[in-house]
Each structure stands twice: as structure tokens, then as C-alpha cells.
């Protein structure tokens, strides 16, 4: 009896905490379906008009496009560099490997603002402020540590004896990479791609300072509109879409590759 009671109690507690954490997101999603002109909760009548408006809004459309482009390019670069670095660190076991690893992950420990300021002053010297390559490089800088961390863990988990066994069976290094290392690293590659993309897509701090007026990403656009025009149902609709997109990505990632274990 007592255990059943305590089970029920702990369930209630857990649900309450979850509700507390998720409530704002639920509010966001519900209000996105409201037909009114201003933010209301709960919605009075349901409509998809704000989703339509969001998808047709020229500024949001271009910002979403910029964010996606920036996210995809910087993620590809960051994951490639991170994988190469991680492979070298784990398999090559260089003399100062641990120091290199710490350096590679160090950006995780500094506030983004510090990075932004550092990049800003370097870019000013190079005349790269406000350019797309500058922005891409900045995003590579902030996403690389996340990708590197996942890839280092991934390669450490792959038994080097598997690669040795493949070699003894006649596989040259390229075949070992293609048939053994890459397939085994695939879950890690997909996880780091997803995380790097989300980090890039979410960034406001570094982007605001580096991007200038030419390359306004979605979160930066949303942020500035929030400040100038208050809560706009279009923003809410886009927010809802992103939440759903992210949840789908994470659920699929967790299901397929146990994303959370790699963080």
C-alpha cells in the first residue's frame, strides 16, 4: 500500500515539474493556433492564419533561409573538422593529446559574448565583419567544440582492434575507413551534426555582433521584432514550428542513436 502511495506521489511530483518546464512551450504552441491579432492565452478561436502569415512573411522567410544556409554550411565544416581532429587525437595519440583535447573543448567554457568580442576585433582587422564567410567562420567556431566532444567520445568507443582485424583481412586504410570506422561512427556523426546545427541555428549573441545588417538570422530577427513590436502572432507561429521540428529531431535522434548518451 505504502509503496503504491509513494509511487503515485512521485508520479505527481514528476508531472508537476514537467508541466512547470513545458508550460511556456505549450502556451506558445496553443496560442499559435489562435485567430486573433494579438497574443492571447488561451486562444479564443482556432485558425492557421498565423502559420500562413509566417510562411509568407518576406523578412522571416529570408531570415529562415539565412539561418538554414548558415546552419548547414557551418555544421558541415564544423563536423568535418571536428571528426578529423577527434580521429587524430584518439587514434594518433599525439604527445600533447590531452592538452589539445582540452584546448579544442575550451570554447565551451567561455561565455559566447567573449567569443563574439574577440571575433569582432579580429574581423575588424581583416575587414570580415558583416560578410557571409565571416559569419560562417564564427558559427564554425562556436559549433566545433560540441561536434568535437561528441566525435572524440565516438572514436574512443570504437575498438582499434576492429580496424586492425580488418587490415589483417586485406583491407587497406581507405577500405577500413569506409567499411568499418565510418559505419561505426555514423551514430556519432549524425548526433554531432544535429547538435551543431541546433547550436548554430539558436545563436543570437555571436551572430548579432558579427552579422551586421546584411545577414539577419531567424533568432536575431525574432529578437529584434520582439523588442520593436512586442509579441507578434507570426513570431509565435514560427516559434511553434521550430519547437515541433526540434522535438521531432530529438525524438528521432534519441530513438535511433541515443543522442542523450553522447552529450
Amino acid at each position: 500500500m505504502r509503496t503504491r502511495l509513494s509511487d503515485a506521489l512521485s508520479l505527481v511530483v514528476v508531472l508537476t515539474i514537467l508541466l512547470f518546464i513545458l508550460a511556456p512551450i505549450l502556451v506558445l504552441i496553443f496560442s499559435a493556433f489562435d485567430g486573433g491579432n494579438i497574443f492571447r492565452f488561451p486562444p479564443r478561436f482556432y485558425s492557421l492564419r498565423w502559420f500562413e502569415a509566417a510562411l509568407n512573411h518576406p523578412e522571416y522567410r529570408s531570415s529562415l533561409w539565412i539561418s538554414t544556409l548558415l546552419g548547414v554550411i557551418s555544421t558541415l565544416i564544423a563536423v568535418t573538422l571536428a571528426s578529423l581532429a577527434a580521429f587524430g587525437l584518439v587514434r594518433g595519440r599525439p604527445r600533447y593529446g590531452l592538452a589539445l583535447e582540452v584546448l579544442l573543448l575550451a570554447p565551451l567554457t567561455l561565455p559566447l559574448v567573449v567569443w563574439a568580442i574577440a571575433l569582432l576585433s579580429i574581423y575588424a582587422e581583416l575587414g570580415m565583419n558583416g560578410t557571409l564567410p565571416g559569419l560562417i567562420l564564427a558559427h564554425v567556431t562556436i559549433t566545433l567544440p560540441f561536434a568535437a566532444r561528441i566525435m572524440i567520445a565516438t572514436f574512443k568507443e570504437i575498438d582499434p582492434r576492429l580496424e586492425a582485424a580488418a587490415k589483417s583481412l586485406g583491407a587497406p586504410p581507405s577500405a577500413v575507413l569506409r567499411r568499418i570506422t565510418l559505419p561505426l561512427a555514423l551514430p556519432g556523426l549524425l548526433s554531432s551534426t544535429a547538435i551543431a546545427f541546433l547550436v548554430s541555428f539558436n545563436d543570437v549573441v555571436v551572430t548579432t555582433l558579427i552579422a551586421g545588417a546584411g545577414w539577419i538570422t531567424f533568432p536575431v530577427r525574432t529578437f529584434s521584432r520582439l523588442r520593436t513590436e512586442g509579441i507578434d502572432p507570426t513570431t509565435i507561429a514560427i516559434g511553434a514550428m521550430i519547437v515541433v521540428f526540434t522535438i521531432v529531431l530529438i525524438v528521432v535522434g534519441q530513438r535511433l542513436f541515443q543522442l542523450s548518451r553522447r552529450l
Binding site: 586492425a164 583481412l169 561505426l184
Partner: protein, 365 residues
Amino acid sequence: MTETPYLSIRSVGKSYRGVTALHDIDLDVEQGAFVALLGPSGCGKSTLLQILAGLLEPDHGEVRLAGADITRLPPWKRNIGLVFQNYALFPHLSIRQNVRFGLDMMGMGATEAEARVDEALAMVGLDPGLSRRPDELSGGQQQRVAIARAIAIRPRLLLLDEPLSNLDAVLRQKVRLELRELHNRTGITTIMVTHDQAEALATADRIAVMEAGRLLQYEAPQGLYRNPATAFIAGFIGNPAANLLPVIAHDGASWSLPGGALWQPDAALSPARNGVATGAACRMALRPETLALGPAAPGGLAGRIAAVEFTGGEHLVHVEAGQTRLSVRLPAGTPIEGPDIWLFPPKEGPLLFDANTGRRLPNPN
């Protein structure tokens, strides 16, 4: 010049960042032989095996296989099968894909490759219909897959690194016999690493005993047992291994034992007869199965029975003699009267080793 050996290892050495793992190893293996590399953990067996497989490059020395220098040949060009202690099966491939891996690397056609996979799986006693993943198999089955994968490529050399150590005791006995039978059937020249002397004695044609990066002795199992080159080997081979009695030549006829007691053995075992100068320290190897027990008589060693273990076919008697402890194996049913008893070594040329170098002293006659 004699016929060149199939595999020859010439003064191969290797150190890891200053620590020498192998000192100048010389070893020849005949085609079709089953050789065991035997030695305690950390003596460099795996290092030598990896050099043969091409996974490590020796600092110096030469490895020749079938007449060709392969010292710097990359592993994928060697056609040498390798089975790891943990089997190292590819977890993302099915059993058949694992066994087929090397055949695919050769570019073999699908029909022929599938037939070879069937053959290799049958050879190790596995059902060729096995379509599961490696992690769904038991340890014993995984090991068979690893062996099938290595022999499917019809290797010029099969290297096994501690193949039995991850199996339980019962399975180990069974699999070691199967390994030997597999070798008899395939005739593949095989080198097996092990730290278990019983395993080496039971399976190999020749045993290379290693200690601390050096090859101590390379000999057929019976020769190794009868004529160990060092005290270390005598104290390592056999079940249980030889007793090593520390002795100092007191005079031409008697030895002094630890604790100071004097022992005057049969003339054949005396210091004078074995060329040991008075005062020299030696170790005398006494095999448990050659010792006899009985009442006081000339040539005997006085002792006291500490314990008797019954092992089925025989008794293992532990005797305290002065400050040393000796084990004696007697057939079951031998009457044992104790606790005070006398030990009698065989009356022929003893196994004597220099106490400092551990080297075998030359037998007289």
C-alpha cells in the same frame, strides 16, 4: 646451408617509448607447424604477434615469410589471419558478412565467396545458416566466428592471441583440442600466444618460452619438460611445475639447505658429481611426479606433510622440508604415512641451475 625456414624472425626488437618490450628475438617456424608462444603476462608475446601481423613495425630485425622479406609489408598485403583475444568481430555486420569480409577485400565473386563462408563456418563447427549479429552469440561461438573469418582467406599464417583465455575452464579444454584438430585438417602454419603452459603443452608442436622480452627456449613440449633451459622454465612447465630447491654445495658430497640443514643425497646428485664447486649456490628442480616418499633411508630429505590434496587420479602431497615446501604427486591409493616422512629424488642426473643466472648447469657424463 640448410633449407630456409618458412617463417624466420631474425633479431627482432621493439621498445615502446624507452621501455624494451622485445630484445633481439630469433625464431624459425616450419611450414605447417603449430607453435605456441608461452610466457607470463607482459613478456612481449602480443607485441611479437603484432609484428608478424604487420600491425607494429619492429625497431630492428627482419621477418621473412616463404622466402620474402615482409618486415615492412603493410598488414593488408600479408595474407596473415589474426584472431584477437576479444575476437574483434565487426558489430555492425552479420556473422556471414564478418566471415566474408576478407574474401570481399580480395574481390572474390559472390558465388565463390559464399561457398568459402560455408566451408569456413563448417570447419569451426558453426551452422552456416547463422544470420545473426555477433553480439547475439555466446563467447565460444564468437570465437569460432573469429577463427572462421581468419581461415576463410586461406592465410599463409594463422596468429591466435590468447584464444582460450576468455572461455570458461570446461570450454577451454574442449576448444584447445578443437584448435589442434582444425590445424591437423587445414595444415595452416599456426602461432598461438598463451600464458597457460598446459594449453601450450597440449596443442603445440613446438613451444617458444618467453620471459621479459627474451626468448628463453624453443623446443618440442616433451623436450621442454625434460630439459628446461632455465630455472624459470622448470618452475613454469608442468602441473604442478617443478619444485625449485635452493641448495648450496657444502662439500663434494652434501648440500646445505635453507635454514642450514645438511643433505647428503645419492652420489649421482652430489655437488662433486655435478661439477659444483663448494660454496656455489644452485637451484635443484625436482618434478613432483618423480619424487617418492618413504621411511628414513640414506639419500633422503627429511620432511613433514603439511597437506594432502586428492585430485581424482592421484594425491598431491605438500611436504615441508626445512624452510622450503615441495609438492609430490603420487598415484591414488599409495599409502601415505605421516606426518614425518622422507623424500627421495630420482637417482639420475638432476636438473641443476645457477642460482644467480638461472641457467642450467651442464649435466656430467
